[in-house]
Subunit: 402 residues, 4 copies
């Protein structure tokens, strides 16, 4: 038996990101692919005792009935984002993980997600506390069955509508009782999963813009139980570029007058974000960092539109209008054509490996050294990608000596 | 009289960059513009005792007969890059600097530059040593006349064809005698100017891709005389973006398969680069850094084309083809529309101020802390812009404490 | 005195398009510019007896207090879209036309336009019939004063919010009485101007997406009085490209799966369109033609956003996702960077000249041969630009023989 | 047996275009695909008695040893341009056509093509006349074996270096004797194939920029034998856009100052064009039409670069700089991302069907009504795509009545 058998519990396991994570682990284990796209495989991280691909076991929650093989084929056929041969050769693994995926939680998830939720096993009108208990039991049973040393819970589900943060009590002891009262519970599914993770003594990573463990009450719960967590919203494409380009303008003293970003894509995440309620959560997360990096607030506009034909190909057009010397206006435009799930999945695997190691090294609370992976890193004011990456390198240096 | 009256001696003073530098100083002095575009005006550099705009005096060399006012109007009318009102209000200053510009050197400058050289005062068939003496005397006379504490010589002239570096002796003592033998002299104008600067005890900054002071013999001459210098090729646009974006791909372990960059513009620099001989020098400088940053060599293609109608608007289209997780190919494209002279001029002024201070603080040899300003920074292997900028910040921190 | 002294009466005379029209006529008359951008100056139209630039006299309505000279300078300084020298040399003409501009009509124009309306002479709470009478008297007085043979009224004002077309009676005789009852009048300003034009026996051209004379009742009024008119929404940029590119895809049997168009700009028209009510009118006009040209309805998305820093530079990014042979998805993207007012103004002048000639040749009713100038040409189902242009050529051929 | 069993003889049958043609016919016959991309399947052409997909039989020449199945897989794996499942289901058909492909001709084809030619059966140092006889016999044997009514020969091979047209005698009777003298023969392979086609009484279509049948001597040969032919250089992507957009600028009287087009791609055609000799032929063909459409010659620049990673994805960036009213400069940029073979193949099939019908209807000489398919249509001065398409529609109308 391996020294560090680690579980990954994916919330939204059958979505594009979840499916690609699972397919990716299978492909890595079977040596059908190289390690391109994985930050944790970069040379500076090679000396760390990170979990080996063959020691990772995957399970998760989802609200849809589909299978991982079907979802993989969809990514291949609709988006031409994956290689069909690779999928066929990993089919056994995908089918095996299907058996580890349990019905998820639907609570304040918004109408659009509710419409997509077609798993007949999903309990309807389940009170929040019951949902948490059920999810917690799923995770614990997964850990027991596979004799896992540790399970890292990662939220890769579709974005929920924003919740009213002011309605959430500051302290866990004040929030806990509300979980028994469906009408008064101010949390949504993503936070119930976080509670379940913490109560099952698991670290929790929120790769989505949903609330997850970001409220002070849940942060308190994690600290009380000596657990670590981090979030939120994976920085995969357009925002990654913003966090790289904005510092360049700042360092050259070029004044950004306006930054317009239009995003179009057609995967399920796009369908969910097409609901204005869910979209609001996302746009906030994409738009904030410019102000932080520049120290002033240029006019910005961010749009996200669901364009069916694009499938998983997230295409962004950004138009940056800036002023140079003697007030001369100039322009930078870029188009980013990236496969959303293929960009996100390796980062999720990196986060799991780094979190797993951090837990072994005794970390608790927010894993701020992971800031470079997130659009809105909890507890971190630094949005310059290169400085965030330096934070990761420093942690690695210190981890290597422990 | 000011404490630090500093001279700027511009090689190619009437070109687009030179003209904009001179107009810019006039506008800054008359408070007709703000300080956008000037790195040395960023907050972290505010505490340094940098030369004040009103303490800078400009002179220079050029091979053309035109006037600074005419060249400014051309930038306004052909390129719509400048404000006509601003030019009119600075006309007196421009006319005054015209009087400080002396006929330049034409030696191995290539046919295209020779065709542009229309100043009737230009000595033809002047031996290199005589040219150096003349240039040196011009600089010294300028320093005397204006009672300057120091003159920083900056090359902003058009790009020369490459010289055969292997023909240049390693040691100054072996090179010096060749300057008396026109046929055997392996240097071109840019290097003669550098020798003149050094022999006049001036620091020398090479903002162009021409050889300048980059040969070991000239570096030796500078060191022997206790002078400082730096180069080469100002990093203003497309290459700046490369030095910011390539590290992002590297840090995300995304493999760049190919990076194609097409540059079009129509100013005089473009006309000169349209000559394949001169272009070769430039393309080498733009193309090298990817390999350094990435640690492997993707297929690259860089083109520079002279498109008359664009005037000073340097427009670059870059197409970056990269591989992500599970080998999925993706794309980033950008279009950069920048005014070449307006991007370059403030950096030249920054370099003068930083060099002036470095001299006062006792620096000699290569000013490697200025790497972030150059496409091919002498003596520096680091091409990641953000790391280069950190080198500048470190120097500032140490300078502030001296 | 010239044979055909023709008046142009501009609704929204001080807006970007109006100002540029007036400046353009001045520049053409003074021979300070060539005729680039003017369709009516193309060789095939050279033989037509079109009004000469020196025979055109301009007046108009506006709701703002500003002057044409100020507005011209704004186009130059904010947008760098005009040459400052040209404006100065035409100042006398601009000032003279200022005297011909009368306070406009504000009726159902929407809150955003009402906020911009700062001419203190504007009557507030004026009943529609009174407004029409006043406007009619303005036009007639202008015609008398300048002894004009004819006045062509053109609407170049900002876009109004859409009106409820179903509330407008089909027949003029049923609509006319409602004009006396402010609360029951279903028209907005653009239509009141059209009525005033018709009652003053003037042809009416609607260059905006507002309703203008498009309702059956107003068409009837025009026909009854033997007048001609045409509209609506000038086809200047992104939509022009759509009407040229969509037929290409159709003729190659390439299936457009989605066509996304994002428009950003910062002039006053943009500010008005930033109001969702006004924007709705515009987006409908931009989005319709694809369906007509292709014969099927691909997914489309059109956005228009006000980005202050862009001024008059309307920048559009279009992403066309299409399917080729064996279902392979491919892409065309374009970026259009055009000066809105500079693209529109010459078309307005063309429309005036063609309409003036059509009137002389005895046309009445809709001038369908002008379809190529409009996004939504009244009474014309053909949206293929090249076929629309052939309609103009045919009319010219027939006009030349009359 | 079908009424019109027609053969297609592809020169370069195993290249990207040839392979896709053959795969496409198989897929159409097996009803595995719809008819997207095929012009001849558009409604207006539906009434014509065009050859049915099941009545087309394919053979051809090639100089490489590879198989059609291998080449199809390459298009799928390297370029992700085809569906793997489709290829597998058509494998039998591909293998069957492999048996119909004979070794081609290598004569003045240039070093790059010679290096690619690895079919061991290729005769080396074969005199031109012998090559023609061999090719002719191949075609005639194919026609006999399959009892074909007619064989349309289409050149889809890689571009040859340009030949010296002035060295080719004007009359066939003067040219014919030179074919016996290898050293004095001024033709290259593409023209030898054309001679073979004509001598086998077949119509000849030149889809490439190579010379083919374009010289007066070969045109004469075709006319003498009562055959029809057309060329050259299929208009698939960037040039198609030019022929659609340039008329728009012309009709709006917008002056194009410069038009820059950069093309990058990585298929075998790209590899061949990477040889400057072969590239020259292509660039000429792409660059000419602007002058024809506009009536003046803007500055143009066309580049074609081989970028391996792009495979069959031909990506073009075009930058159009134009002047509008009052001389204001504006810009249109587009990026075209198209699969070269997938764009070309259906046009080749269309050309075969239209040519086949034209022959049945008694046409001889140049098939000028096919101009819309070519970058440089023989005998046609019209380059406006929409007018060219009207020529096709007129022919169809007249064909339908015969």
């Amino acid at each position: 038996m391996a020294k560090h058998r680690t579980g990954i519990w994916l919330i939204g396991a059958k979505g594009g990101v979840g499916t690609t994570c699972i397919l990716g682990i299978a492909a890595l284990r079977r040596r059908l692919t190289d390690t391109i796209g994985l930050v944790s495989e970069l040379p500076p991280f090679g000396k760390l005792p990170l979990a080996d691909w063959k020691d990772l076991v995957v399970g998760g929650h989802d609200v849809r009935e589909t299978s991982l093989y079907e979802e993989s084929l969809k990514l291949q056929q609709v988006s031409r984002a994956l290689d069909g041969e690779l999928i066929r050769r990993c089919k056994t693994d995908l089918d095996q993980v299907d058996g580890q995926i349990r019905p998820g939680i639907l609570f304040n998830a918004g109408r659009t997600i509710e419409k997509l939720a077609d798993d007949p096993r999903l309990p309807r009108r389940e009170p929040p506390r019951a949902a948490i208990e059920r999810a917690k039991e799923d995770i614990e049973s997964f850990r027991r069955t596979h004799r896992l040393e540790r399970v890292v819970v990662v939220n890769v589900a579709s974005t929920e509508p924003p919740v009213d943060g002011s309605a959430i009590p500051e302290r866990w002891s004040d929030l806990a009782p509300l979980l028994d009262k469906p009408r008064r519970c101010p949390l949504a599914s993503s936070s119930l999963y976080a509670v379940a993770a913490f109560e099952a003594d698991c670290p929790f990573i929120n790769f989505t813009p949903s609330a997850g463990a970001s409220s002070p009450a849940l942060c308190g719960l994690a600290l009380d139980r000596g657990l670590c967590h981090m979030g939120h919203d994976g920085k995969t494409g357009e925002t990654l570029l913003k966090s790289v380009l904005a510092p360049m303008f700042a360092h050259r003293n070029l004044e950004i007058m306006s930054w317009v970003g239009h995003n179009i894509f057609g995967n399920m995440d796009g369908l969910v974000l097409d609901d204005p309620a869910n979209k609001r959560t996302k746009v906030q997360s994409k738009d904030r960092l410019l102000r932080h990096i520049l120290g002033y607030a240029p006019q910005t506009h961010v749009s996200i539109e669901y364009i069916r034909s694009l499938g998983d190909w997230k295409t962004a057009w950004d138009h940056v209008h800036f002023r140079g010397f003697l007030n001369t206006p100039m322009m930078l435009q870029f188009t980013w054509q990236g496969c959303d799930s293929l960009l996100a999945a390796p980062l999720v695997l990196d986060l799991v490996r780094f979190t797993d190691l951090a837990v072994r090294l005794g970390s608790r609370g927010l894993l701020t050294f992971l800031a470079s992976f997130f659009k809105s890193p909890h507890g971190v004011d630094e949005h310059d990608f290169h400085r965030q990456f330096a934070m990761l390198e420093e942690w690695v240096a210190s981890a290597a000596t422990r």
